[in-house]
């Protein structure tokens, strides 16, 4: 569904953060992305959620060459992608409910749909009592769960999660990964960047490993 070929990426005039990255994400696949801090994981994910264009190389997105797509084609693609940002990036002035509702609202869902979906999902991530709290009054883990809920509320075709369990306890972490796996089973292609070895071994999905901008692939270790 998504193919990167010899992709390179640099910020401004700096050195290349990613070098000759090539991989393919099949529809409905699940991948982890690991690597030391500063290796370029977030940078790679930014390319996946269409926040940056690569400096060089070919990217094929949902069957289309990225370089052939104009600005106006991108919003439609972006609405098929859910993102959990490493630093959450919630709207500070909106409640947890409103934050999670936004992707639905952008798609133009009805009030009723919004109400039901959002409440159900926030209950699932254990925030039924904090529906109308602003991010500033949420704990770190609670913010992270709101960010995750916002990313998956749309049942996206591609889910990109950057360190989605760094601020929650192992139990909640498993619960959230379960959510991702369920979504994945429904067809959502998933990429999760993480430092949590426990998580990687628990799921056993194939692992992309980044180091100093070079990508290598560790295959599936069974299970999944």
């Amino acid at each position: 569904m998504i193919t990167f070929e010899n992709v390179g990426m640099r910020y401004g005039m700096g050195a290349e953060i990613l070098q000759d990255v090539s991989f393919t994400l099949e529809k409905g696949s699940f991948h982890f992305l690991v690597g030391p801090s500063g290796a370029g994981k977030t940078t790679l994910l930014k390319l996946l959620y269409l926040a940056h264009r690569p400096s060089r190389g070919l990217v094929d997105f949902f069957g289309k060459d990225l370089s052939s797509l104009g600005r106006d084609d991108l919003p439609r693609l972006r609405r098929r992608i859910g993102v959990v940002f490493q630093d959450f990036r919630l709207f500070d002035h909106l409640t947890a409910f409103e934050n999670v509702a936004l992707p639905l609202r952008i798609k133009g869902a009805t009030k009723k749909q919004v109400q039901d979906h959002v409440e159900e999902l926030l209950a699932w991530v254990g925030l039924e009592e904090r529906l109308h709290a602003k991010p500033a009054t949420l704990s770190g883990g609670e913010k992270q769960r709101v960010a995750i809920a916002r990313a998956v509320i749309n049942k996206p075709d591609l889910l990109v999660a950057d360190e989605p369990t760094g601020n929650v306890d192992p139990e909640m972490s498993q619960r959230l990964m379960h959510l991702f796996v369920e979504l994945n089973k429904l067809g959502t292609t998933t990429v999760v960047a993480t430092h949590d070895e426990n998580l990687v071994s628990a799921i056993g999905a194939p692992v992309f490993s980044l180091d100093k901008g070079q990508l290598s692939v560790r295959p599936d270790r069974g299970q999944s």
């Binding site: 959620y49 269409l50 926040a51 940056h52 264009r53 600005r71 991108l74 919003p75 439609r76 693609l77 972006r78 609405r79 098929r80 992608i81 993102v83 990036r89 709207f91 500070d92 002035h93 909106l94 936004l102 992707p103 609202r105 952008i106 133009g108």
Partner: protein, 292 residues
């Protein structure tokens, strides 16, 4: 439907709170400056009308024959002057009528040697240089004098013209700096919204959807500021003019917001609002265009 209700911006109180006020103050300035320039314009117009219509020349010579000779010389000169439509000598009864307010109801001695008065009608098109004219008159008819009240009026007219030019430059300056401050203030306000814009963009909101939220917001800022500014300006002008009406003094009463002028002033908040909105839209669009 969501186009109307998609509210992803924080309440504006903290962030752009100053903008409507700044717009208000700038419009207040604009309106006052334009009103002053317009008032001076009206004054100049009415004075010019006075001045353009006719001037008076008096020939003050004791001897009747000599007076008649100089009057004829002055008439010839005046009729040859470009811009002069006609020059007529007033009958002495008319002269006496002019003098009588001064003498009251004293019986008038028919032998009283009154000066000859020449009423000069101007065509109102060609400007007449009164200073040059009075110099030439002094040569042709030494006893002839241009009425110096009108010479003085012509001088004040020159001054008023200069002041008007200054005022028009002030108006220009104020309008320009209003535009600059609105643009500047708008962009400063938008700088604090960079993050919501970026997130909406990454969630797949179309540029137009993001812009719409700002359009309405900044349109409201502009209208609010514009109305406040214009309200204060009209109030001030009305107060000044009310005080002036009693006297009917030309220059001051011209400050009265005429219906026409008020209508124009009321267009200013609309202009301010559209300017604010356009700036917001351009700034947001530019920020969005820099994103992939």
């Amino acid at each position: 439907m969501w186009g109307r209700t998609l509210q992803f911006l924080p309440k504006s109180k903290d962030r752009e709170g100053l903008l409507p006020w700044v717009i208000g103050v700038m419009l207040f300035l604009c309106a006052l400056a334009i009103a002053s320039a317009a008032a001076i314009g009206t004054g100049i117009e009415s004075w010019s009308r006075d001045l353009a219509s006719n001037i008076t020349v008096q020939v003050v010579v004791a001897d009747a024959t000599e007076r008649q000779a100089q009057t004829d010389a002055a008439l010839t000169l005046l009729r040859a002057t470009p811009g002069v439509q006609s020059a007529t000598v007033l009958a002495s009864s008319e002269v006496m009528a002019l003098v009588s307010p001064w003498l009251g109801d004293l019986p008038i001695d028919a032998n009283l040697p009154v000066p000859a008065l020449i009423d000069v009608a101007l065509d109102g098109v060609t400007p007449v240089n009164t200073t040059a004219l009075s110099e030439r008159l002094a040569i042709a008819a030494p006893g002839a004098q241009l009425d110096d009240h009108q010479a003085w009026l012509s001088q004040i007219l020159d001054l008023a013209a200069v002041v008007q030019i200054v005022l028009i430059s002030v108006v220009g300056m104020v309008v320009l700096s209003t535009v600059a401050i609105v643009i500047f203030g708008c962009r400063a306000g938008l700088a604090t919204h960079a993050e919501p814009i970026a997130i909406m963009h990454l969630m797949g909101a179309e540029d137009s959807m993001i812009c719409r939220a700002f359009d309405l917001r900044y349109l409201a800022h502009g209208i609010k500021g514009g109305l406040v500014g214009i309200a204060f300006a009209l109030l001030t002008l009305w107060l000044i003019s009310r005080m002036a009406t009693e006297l009917g003094e030309g220059l001051v009463s011209a400050f009265a917001p005429s219906t026409d002028f008020s209508a124009w002033l009321l267009l200013m908040p609309v202009f301010a609002a559209l300017l604010t909105m356009a700036t917001a839209r351009i700034t947001v669009r530019r920020a969005l265009k820099e994103m992939m």
